[in-house]
């Protein structure tokens, strides 16, 4: 029986994918390539992987998509896999498609749901700019599915007793692209993805200094500030990492408050998983109210300070 191969350049995502793969009742292998990944084997075994194909080939250390895809194509053959699950990070999505082309395989990227149903893998992903969710299956004999981080809950499944570490036999050409410099981004100054309370601001803010009022509200609620695309990408008032929605961040807070934003699907797709949603907007016909559990029709410059003030009195 052909097996499942799992790869991500992030350990946490590899564990998520291994957890899902182990439910398919087929042999599960994980590809651990690059210097760091070799150390993940034990954890992967605890999450359902039975074999780890390990390579510390220095050609792979820069995680370049074309070299990675070639390495995974070779491991796919060694592992006799016909389903390859990859973490759909920016790098992962790129690797998945190049691998799929090498394997003459159909590919789904950015899957935000994956299940086994009627003998086939069924994936969901946003389509039409977030207006719809497409439910898809792959027809080709080999399938590559790139799954978004945190789609699956990583769960330890076994003791990994029969697990085996195998040295991957790879033959790789050096990458044609040269990495000159890596500039790490300032990590996690604002984590909009895992916050419990998310306060988002849109075009309704007149001045950059008005964001202080939004920040104060978020602070009072123990939350963080996110925004729509114009605020981060056109006005540059907030960092691009705070943009919520398509091509930005997805968030599932306990409480979402959208302020001075119309509620275009490109934004709201990023907050669909919120438990309770609140909208504050002066236009009572703004689409955001259709997405809101509670809506206040009013001027944000009046509503926000009052809301913050009353919250502080609690």
């Amino acid at each position: 029986m052909s097996g499942v191969l799992v790869y991500s350049e992030r350990e946490s995502v590899a564990l998520e994918l291994a957890t899902f793969a182990s439910t398919l009742k087929r042999p599960v292998a994980v590809a651990l390539v690059g210097q760091e990944a070799a150390a993940w084997a034990k954890n992967c075994f605890a999450h359902g992987a039975e074999r780890a194909y390990v390579s510390t080939d220095p050609t792979l250390s820069e995680l370049q998509a074309d070299v990675l895809a070639e390495a995974l194509a070779q491991i796919t053959k060694q592992a006799d896999a016909d389903v390859i699950l990859i973490g759909s990070t920016l790098r992962g999505r790129e690797v998945a498609a190049r691998l799929a082309q090498k394997l003459n395989a159909g590919c789904i990227t950015d899957a935000n749901g994956l299940r086994f149903e009627d003998g086939q893998l069924v994936a969901t992903r946003y389509a039409l700019g977030g207006n719809t969710i497409a439910t898809l299956v792959i027809k080709s004999p080999v399938q590559v599915i790139a799954v978004m981080p945190q789609t699956i809950q990583a769960t330890p499944t076994g003791d990994g007793g029969s697990a085996e570490i195998i040295e991957a036999r790879l033959s790789l050409a050096p990458p044609p692209v040269k990495i000159v410099e890596r500039r790490p981004k300032q990590a996690g100054s604002v984590n909009v993805e895992s916050t419990k309370v998310l306060v988002c601001i849109g075009r309704g803010a007149n001045e950059q200094s008005d964001l202080e009022m939004i920040q104060t509200l978020a602070d009072t609620l123990g939350g963080v500030v996110g925004c729509t695309r114009p605020v981060s990408h056109d006005k540059h008032w907030l960092s691009e990492g705070q943009m919520i929605g398509i091509s930005g961040k997805m968030s599932s807070p306990r409480l979402y408050i959208g302020i001075g934003l119309s509620g275009q699907i490109q934004h709201t797709v990023g907050i669909m998983g919120s438990k309770v949603t609140v909208a504050i907007n002066s236009d009572k016909n703004a689409p955001i109210f259709k997405m809101a559990d509670y809506g206040i029709v009013g001027d944000l410059y009046q509503v926000v300070p009052k809301l913050t003030g009353k919250l502080r009195l609690r």
Partner: protein, 272 residues
């Protein structure tokens, strides 16, 4: 230097209506336009041309016959010529079909230095075509580019005499990379602000050459592209359900805020 910009014609996503009973999108009769990231790609090609002089920019697009009109925008922004593929045979292609079609177009064009695409299409944003096209053409791929520079190449290592230096925008880092041309590059919205072409450019665009190529011109058959060759089956494509209470608090601001706080307390979402 020859720069090819691959562009996708999409429906205007802000005009999609959802059928209330079935949650299906209504796509018929919607206006079409080019995707956002493709405009960044084209803008960059035109800026390189303006800076370097001896550059030809060709826009390539596969899509419905409406492309005959849509492509004029690309020519007005500054493409020198266009190749469009509007044959129904290409319809319903998956990413592999699209990549195969583009690869054949590029092989027919023959001489090129730089291929630019958006980081993903604005509608489905799968981001697959760049990787698949790079694999088919055996080219270096540089994705998620937010800064791009064309430099003189090392004569020994650079077959087209030029190289690029690019800044890639990844989740955790910016990566500065260099590659010899020919190479294929995908760009993000941060790369530039696409221009709105002036009226004179729009008028001039009508006189620029647009070639329409069919399956025979590039040598593809039914088995390779189009819906029949697609490896993906779409079981459904429906608007997500969002059941929200939609309690509207209008009128006096103090009352509305008090009501909201009571409601949030009941929901149990205020505990820090």
């Amino acid at each position: 230097m020859h720069i090819i910009v691959c562009m996708k014609q999409i429906v205007d996503l802000t005009k999609i209506r959802i059928k209330a009973d079935t949650r299906e999108p209504v796509l018929e009769g919607l206006p079409v336009r080019f995707g956002d990231f493709e405009k960044n790609a084209l803008e960059e090609a035109v800026r390189i041309k303006e800076k370097q002089g001896d550059v030809k920019v060709t826009a390539v697009a596969v899509g419905s016959p409406k492309l005959k009109d849509t492509i004029k925008e690309a020519l007005a922004i500054g493409a020198d010529e266009a190749v469009i593929l509007t044959d129904p045979l290409f319809e319903g292609s998956d990413e592999m079909g699209t990549a195969r079609t583009l690869a054949k177009v590029l092989q027919k064009i023959g001489e090129y230095d730089l291929i630019l695409l958006g980081e993903g299409s604005t509608d489905d944003h799968t981001g697959q075509v760049i990787s698949r096209l790079a694999e088919l053409l055996g080219l270096a791929q540089v994705t998620y580019v937010r800064e791009l520079e064309v430099l003189e190449g090392n004569p020994l290592a650079s077959p087209r005499g030029k190289r690029i230096r690019a800044v890639r925008d990844l989740e955790d880092a910016l990566e500065v990379v260099e590659a010899n041309l020919p190479a294929i590059v995908s760009v993000t919205a941060e790369l530039n602000q696409p221009r709105l072409p002036p009226l004179t450019a729009i008028l001039k665009a009508a006189r620029k050459p647009t070639k329409t190529w069919g399956p025979n011109d590039i040598g593809v058959t039914t088995g390779e592209v189009g819906a029949g060759a697609s490896m993906i089956t779409m079981l459904s494509n429906l608007a997500p359900t969002q059941q929200r209470k939609q309690v509207m608090l209008e009128g006096d601001v103090d009352d509305a805020v008090n009501e909201l706080l009571k409601a949030l307390e009941r929901e149990g979402v205020l505990a820090v």
